[in-house]
């Protein structure tokens, strides 16, 4: 469904959307974050890349699996703590971050469905905003089968046409959100469609960072297991893990029990984000560690995203958001690493 929404009518639509929990980019000091908003004015659609992607709404950094309690004589009690019913609209999702959700869907789906993930996912609507100009100088979505106006994972995509938005709905859920304020939306004219096309073409040209021939990387990685390349590239790594914590596609997690020292038999089992970049991530209780150094951990990160995931799920596990490039404190640049892999030995 294609529609036009005048910007001056935008607040009225937002008011209707507030029938749901509404999460949108808001400015917090120098950064933008996705947060629950209460008025249309809270929403800042001129936002640059948000600190974290909306992944955190579906796969929060901390998830309680269950609560447990054990009396002195009774059997322990386990109380499942599934996410509550709370239909949520995430508004202003960048196409790369929406595509990332389709990738975490692959991980948390499959033969063992993760009920916590899907409880949140199935009640989350994603309303996107196309990137007319790259929100991050390190954006490289075009190189990883994405685009600044891709619809993957989105229910609705908005494109800024100056005084109006071009609104495309791709799903029944998207149509439902438009129908909340039917009278605000007009039919697009031929001129609107032409303008959309023009903006989309221009937006692609504005993306500076590209990796040509990324498809050469997965087969190349096959023969690079024992290469000294990984030592060289990982030399400056601080093992901080920010590349993975900021990543919209990374899904590794830890599971632990939390108890208070005064009541060791009462507590919660929780899932928290974890990262393959931490030394103890793979360490056995014996002390043996299959990935004992920075080189083997960088190799894991690159192999997972550009080889294993490709072989298993037919997609790169990267959507080109550029966060890891921008945020790495020692300037490890995944684009450069991938270019070096592509050209390795030739």
């Amino acid at each position: 469904m294609d529609k036009i929404l005048l910007k001056k009518a935008f607040p009225q639509w937002v008011k209707k959307l507030q029938a749901y929990r509404l999460i949108a980019p808001t400015k917090d000091g120098n950064i933008w974050i996705y947060e629950a908003v209460t008025t249309p004015e809270d929403i800042d659609l001129e936002f640059l890349t948000t600190a974290l992607s909306p992944k955190k709404i579906i796969f929060p950094q901390r998830e309680v699996y269950f609560e447990f309690e054990k009396g002195d004589n009774d059997n322990p009690e386990i109380k499942e703590t599934l996410p509550e019913d709370d239909p949520t609209i995430v508004f202003g999702v960048r196409p790369c971050d929406a595509k990332a959700v389709t990738l975490t869907d692959m991980v948390f789906g499959g033969d063992f469905e993760d009920v916590y993930y899907w409880k949140r996912r199935n009640q989350t609507y994603l309303v996107g905003l196309a990137c007319n100009t790259p929100p991050n100088p390190n954006c490289f979505c075009l190189s990883v089968d994405g685009s600044p106006h891709s619809k993957d994972g989105l229910d609705i995509l908005l494109t800024d046409l100056g005084d109006k938005y071009y609104v495309k709905s791709f799903t029944k859920n998207g149509d439902k959100l438009l129908n909340l304020a039917k009278n605000l939306f007009k039919q697009p004219s031929a001129a609107n469609k032409k303008e959309l096309q023009k903006i989309q073409t221009e937006s692609e040209k504005k993306i500076i960072r590209q990796i040509n021939n990324l498809k050469k990387v997965p087969p190349k990685l096959k023969d690079m297991w024992d290469s000294p390349f990984w030592d060289e590239e990982a030399m400056s790594c601080l093992r901080c893990g920010i590349c993975t914590y900021m990543c919209p596609t990374c899904h590794c997690f830890d599971i632990n029990d939390e108890v208070h020292s005064s009541a060791p038999l009462k507590g919660q089992r929780i899932r928290t984000w974890d990262t393959c970049q931490f030394p103890d991530f793979t360490m056995h209780s014996s002390g043996h560690n299959p990935r004992p150094d920075k080189a083997s951990r960088l190799r894991q990160r690159i192999m997972h995203k550009f080889k294993y995931f490709v072989e298993k799920h037919k997609n790169y596990q990267c959507t080109g958001c550029g966060r890891c490039v921008t945020k790495c404190p020692v300037s490890i640049d995944i684009i450069e690493v991938l270019e070096k892999v592509r050209d390795y030995g030739s």
Partner: protein, 276 residues
């Protein structure tokens, strides 16, 4: 298994029996457990289960009882980390959590009519015990059965009584690493005991579990005796948290050991990166 259910919630099980196998610094105890409520838990030899001590966490442990044993699930556990230490402190009657079973299993269907040689070291006898006792329970389906088992010292031998009884049912070659006054059997590492006894590779499947270094030399020595890669099976272990291929830490290349392993033939494993 009902895949729509919540995989992360453990089922409560009572510890009905605890047996101390080995004391001291490398303590091993064997636990027999019964679910408090029947939940249709059915495992295959080689599969693992995630054991919970609430408040301490979870650890993935191989199931050492045979699926033919319907009355209990058995786990033999080396005291090593936080959760296994907590398990060692439990008493009979205590309740723990169990979820699973996880992973693939030994392809015993494919082994019908073959002779089976089990090769274990240390606590590696625990995962072997499930497949070994299943083979014993269906003896008519297989040819000759034999076991090589070694431990560092006679004190470290697990399943001492069971091994004595086993000698009446199959060939058992025991070994310890260094000489002791009363030890009448082989002295030396398990791989050397294999070279010493020279089993024929004809119509044989070997299954080996133990420390990685032992497995490495067992495989080398089996190959020297003419065993093909397809005749050698082993198990791999890695650090695990979820057990269902999502938390991202137990992978060897694109294999998640919790889901795609732990059982591999050497023909499969030799092509995977050495990341275990």
């Amino acid at each position: 298994m009902d895949h729509n259910s919540n995989s992360y919630i453990p089922k409560l099980a009572k510890i009905i029996e605890i047996k101390e196998e080995v004391g001291g610094a490398r303590a091993v105890k064997t636990f027999r457990t019964q679910f408090i409520e029947d939940n249709g838990f059915i495992h295959k030899p080689g599969q693992c289960a995630m054991l919970s001590v609430l408040g301490k966490g979870e650890a993935m442990i191989s199931i050492s009882s045979s699926p033919l044993e319907k009355d209990y699930l058995q786990f033999s556990i080396l005291k090593m980390g936080r959760v296994t230490s907590a398990l060692h402190e439990t008493q009979e009657g205590d309740v723990i959590g169990i979820r699973g079973p996880y992973g693939n299993s030994f392809p015993m269907e494919k082994w019908k009519g073959k002779n089976l040689i089990f090769i274990g070291g240390g606590i590696g006898l625990a995962p072997l015990w499930s497949v070994l006792s299943t083979a014993l329970g269906k003896k008519q389906e297989f040819g000759n059965l034999a076991l090589f088992y070694g431990a560092r010292t006679s004190q470290d031998v697990v399943f001492k009584q069971e091994l004595e009884e086993l000698k009446n049912k199959m060939t058992v070659h025991l070994s310890i690493d260094v000489e002791e006054p009363d030890w009448k059997e082989y002295v030396g590492f398990v791989p050397l005991n294999i070279l010493d006894k020279k089993p024929s590779p004809k119509n044989v499947i070997t299954i080996t579990c133990g420390p990685p270094i032992m497995i490495k030399f067992v495989i080398q020595n089996l190959q020297a005796l003419g065993f093909k890669d397809e005749q050698i099976y082993t198990t791999v272990e890695n650090k695990m948290k979820c057990g269902i291929g999502k938390c991202g830490r137990c992978n060897i290349g694109l294999h998640y050991v919790c889901k795609d392993g732990p059982v591999y033939s050497w023909a499969e494993l030799k092509n995977l990166p050495q990341e275990y």
